[in-house]
């Protein structure tokens, strides 16, 4: 239990105690659970696969397919450039964020948060582009196109070699510059207790 939840930056004594405390509840009537009720129906593997689009940092969830910088440049020009700009800096008035730049700026006093400078995992870029981009046609890119455009953005960010082909094996191996930039929430951080 301890090793399994020690997976992220969110590890607190509250989490541990509540998870441990919750285990007995599974088999008790402490909260009035009167089941099993067996409402609903089994979800088939195919039904799950049709909506299970998330991708995790270790690569779980990455679909088959591949793409590279060269293809990605075309995908970007056709689907992303209008809002994110030819320089990947974001076009004013579109609401689109800058994607690159700002490396090593986070502690400078003038931080610039971008995919390049702030995002800790390449998996998040793939996951987000696949689920929610492009804004005006979300979910419209093929898996190959998503791999390609991720390769293009990370290539422009000088994170990924422009000759690399991204796929389910290579994408999780990418080290993002800010992968160690996050800490757990220590609050309460102001102590005015009586």
């Amino acid at each position: 239990m301890f090793t399994n939840i020690k997976t992220a930056n969110y590890v607190s004594t509250i989490t541990l105690s509540l998870i441990l405390g919750a285990v007995p509840l599974k088999s008790s009537a402490a909260t009035g659970y009167g089941g099993p009720y067996n409402f609903g129906n089994p979800a088939s593997a195919a039904e799950i696969a049709s909506i299970d689009i998330d991708v995790m940092p270790d690569g779980r969830g990455l679909p088959p397919g591949s793409g590279d910088y060269k293809t990605g440049k075309k995908v970007y020009a056709a689907n992303c450039m209008a809002c994110h700009g030819a320089d990947l800096g974001g076009v004013a008035g579109t609401g689109a964020a800058a994607l690159i730049g700002g490396r090593d700026s986070l502690a400078s006093g003038k931080p610039k948060k971008t995919v390049e400078s702030y995002w800790p995992y390449a998996s998040t870029v793939f996951d987000f582009v696949k689920r929610a981009m492009p804004f005006w046609a979300p979910g419209s890119l093929s898996d190959d196109e998503v791999y390609a455009v991720v390769a293009y953005v990370l290539g422009e960010a000088n994170i990924l070699d422009k000759g690399t082909t991204l796929n389910a094996t290579s994408l999780p191996k990418i080290d993002m510059p800010n992968k160690d930039g996050f800490i757990s929430d220590p609050r309460p951080d102001v102590f005015l207790y009586e």
Binding site: T94, L106, P111
Partner: protein, 475 residues
């Protein structure tokens, strides 16, 4: 004013964000003043009740026109006239309602509307798109603790989907003994619970870190709302599907255009999470996730996934965009806090508050809201002398956990300029801090930017000699 804070600068994006909110609020104030303007001077004085307790001019004109044409009975069920506020119908006003019959029973189509003389409304932050945007609850006009469903604040990332409930399913899968899917009918068969809880966006107050920026409490605090939510405890569903050993996180996913996702610690899911389908006694509003929403009492609003279609149980967090690049708190030194879920204790005086005007010295009942993501509010103190002294406010009972709590404090204003404030303490003993306290431990988002999340500091309202109330910083 603390000079250290003033010396820090917001980044360009945040500056433009704040400027946009200032303009949106100015626009809303202008509309409200126009609506509220009485035809003749009244003793209430312009601004004391800025939402207007006197008939809007437009409605009176409308009535006169209607009466002249003999069209006393208006078409029922038609879209709201532009002449009256959203959510109301332009009914004729009788000169003496004791001398003529009123309008027909149930002739409103069977679903009521508010009085055409009530004007409070949400206003929208002018983001680049109307799909990814948010609106603020008018706390200044609120009473009690419940937020009307139509006034609950909103935050959307891909517009408001219109979902047919018969076609909506929730799939629960991952580290479970048996993955299952549930229709809304299925979910409503489970034993249900109803609980009053607030939801607050962690960006509530984002404009206020560096200096007082917005004018009204709707602008400074309007991203919190309280609702009676009804639904199924998530723990019930977890028992039904059988959570496997080693599971520690749940991914919740919405079926909007953002396909919004957040990772939630499994302990929260076992503890008090709910799958809600009802809001204040009726189906939840489309803006709040119809037909199904995840409710995580006390957690930041973004985690309460709307239009919920999928729950995946896992051993690790999924590191979605919203929990990495957004909703993380960059600190001095360049590290950022992640998974800062809890909304800490906070309070604000809603009457009198910014842009109101007191007609003169005398008695006023100060009133406001206090809330905490960690349980019940234990006490609220009010200062009417800029923090030199504090006195206990009365709490409206029942005081519910993780819920807005209404406080009241009788005040006789001597007519001299002063600053009024409230501060609360929750049942853990935690006391609401000042902005200076918070900036002291967190810095401002990397040093010189304005951090925008998790501002729960004491709010100060200055009362001028002429009775005008305005937003100030007072530490």
């Amino acid at each position: 004013m603390d000079s250290d804070i003033l010396e820090k600068e917001y980044d360009e994006k945040t500056r433009s964000l704040i400027q946009g909110m200032v303009e949106a609020e100015e626009h809303a104030i202008a509309i409200r003043k126009k609506q509220a303007a009485p035809e003749e001077e009244c003793e209430c004085r312009d601004g004391m009740f800025p939402n207007g307790k006197t008939p809007p001019k437009a409605s009176r004109r409308q009535f006169l026109a209607s009466a002249a044409s003999g069209a006393a009975a208006l078409a029922v069920g038609s879209a709201a006239s532009a002449a009256v506020p959203a959510g109301s119908i332009d009914y004729p006003v009788q000169d003496d309602p004791t001398k003529v019959q009123g309008r027909l029973t149930n002739d409103d189509g069977g679903y009521g509307s508010r009085s055409q003389f009530e004007t409070e409304a949400r206003w929208r932050f002018p983001t680049a798109t109307k799909e990814s945007s948010w609106t603020m609850t008018p706390l200044d006009s609120g009473s009690g603790i419940v937020t009307p469903s139509a006034l609950h604040f909103e935050r959307h990332h891909g517009g408001i989907p219109n979902i047919h409930p018969d076609k909506h399913e929730l799939v629960v899968h991952g580290m479970v003994d048996g993955a299952r899917k549930y229709t809304m009918e299925d979910l409503k068969r489970f034993p249900s619970v109803s609980r009053f809880h607030f939801i607050e966006c962690s960006g509530n107050g984002l404009t206020e870190w560096r200096k007082p920026t917005l004018k009204t409490v709707q602008g400074t605090h309007g991203l919190t709302s309280t609702t009676e939510w009804t639904g199924v405890p998530l723990s019930t569903i977890l028992r039904e599907v059988g959570v496997q050993d080693g599971a520690a996180w749940i991914l919740a996913e919405g079926s909007d255009a953002a396909v919004m996702t957040r990772s939630v610690p499994l302990d929260k899911a076992w503890d008090d999470a709910m799958l809600v389908y009802a809001q204040n006694g009726e189906a939840i509003r489309p803006e709040q996730g119809y037909p199904l929403r995840l409710l995580l009492p006390g957690f930041e609003g973004n985690t309460h996934i709307k239009w919920l279609r999928r729950l995946e149980i896992s051993d690790k967090p999924f590191m979605t965009r919203e929990e990495t690049s957004k909703y993380t708190d960059l600190l001095d030194g360049g590290k950022a806090r992640q998974f800062s879920f809890t909304m800490e204790a906070k309070s604000v005086i809603t009457f009198p508050s910014g842009e109101m005007k007191l007609p003169g010295a005398g008695f006023y009942e100060i009133s406001g809201l206090a809330w905490t993501g960690k349980g019940r509010i234990k006490r609220v103190e009010v200062s009417v002398d800029g923090g030199d002294s504090w006195q206990l406010a009365e709490l409206q009972t029942p005081v519910l956990p993780i819920c807005h709590t209404r406080f009241r404090f009788p005040w006789r204003w001597d007519g001299k300029p002063t600053v009024i404030q409230s501060r609360c303490q929750d049942e853990t003993g935690y006391v609401q801090p000042t902005i200076k306290d918070l900036v002291g431990v967190r810095g401002l988002d990397g040093g010189k930017y304005g951090s925008i999340y998790h501002l729960n500091a004491i709010q100060s309202w200055a009362v001028d000699a002429d009775g005008g109330v305005s937003n100030v910083h007072k530490y």
